[in-house]
């Protein structure tokens, strides 16, 4: 994103990323969102030829799952709702 944008814009790109990954899942594709793809932004800029004022946020590797790879059996859990969501009414 252009560096005159801030965290609101980064949040928009995050919403996009989940939409993309769900669309991939629904179509039989596998993905891995990776913060590490933002480690060397100059390399990405050089290869695609975009300007210094466009900032790299993250990357997503994707394709078809190799189900013979042990790493693909790893699963994470999620925190209980109470740790993440607050509901108020009154």
């Amino acid at each position: 994103m252009k560096d005159n944008f801030g965290s609101q814009t980064a949040a928009d790109v995050g919403m996009y990323a989940q939409t993309l990954m769900l669309a991939m899942t629904a179509n039989g594709l596998a993905s891995c969102a990776q913060g590490t793809m933002a480690h060397y932004p100059d390399l990405v800029r050089d290869n695609f030829g975009f300007e210094e004022d466009v900032k790299v946020l993250f990357g997503i590797s994707f394709g078809y799952e190799d189900d013979s790879v042990a790493a693909n059996t790893a699963r994470t859990t999620r925190a209980p709702l109470e740790e993440s969501v607050a509901f108020i009414r009154d």
């Binding site: 919403m15 480690h39 190799d66 790893a74």
Partner: protein, 134 residues
């Protein structure tokens, strides 16, 4: 159309860290990116810029990532995190790493093996495509 319900897609999506060399056909590639275009954004600005690398371009980018990691070039992200991560988040990150090491049969104490696991990120887990968001 896919057979998966939205709920199934949400619950089955997870990070894949090992891909087949097979490329995604162009038509399907365009379809998933067309769908993602319908994502919400504040005042419909659609600020995302996607840069997709495949084939020889991906090979070139991957080799340069690996070269830098092997040369221990420090990461220099455009938008680094500000300050330290809190304990709750650190704990979750540790659990995530533990699940991965356990699946791969890597012991916590085995630093060289953990470094090899980390390096897989920069190999993009052998994926035939990578998309960068900028």
């Amino acid at each position: 159309m896919s057979e998966l319900s939205l709920e199934q897609a949400i619950l089955t999506r997870h990070s894949i860290r090992g891909f087949l060399p097979k490329e995604v056909p162009d038509e399907l590639l365009r379809k998933v990116f067309e769908l993602a275009q319908w994502s919400p954004s504040g005042t419909n600005v659609q600020p995302w810029q996607a840069y997709v690398a495949s084939g020889a371009a991906l090979k070139r980018i991957r080799s340069e990532f690996i070269r830098r990691v092997e040369a221990k070039v420090p990461a220099k992200p455009d938008l680094p995190d500000k300050g330290k991560m809190g304990d709750i988040f650190k704990g979750r990150r540790r659990e995530c790493a533990a699940a991965l090491y356990s699946a791969m049969g890597v012991a916590w104490e085995d630093k060289p093996a953990r470094a090899r696991v980390g390096k897989r990120n920069f190999e993009m887990f052998d994926a035939p495509h990578v998309v960068f968001y900028a």
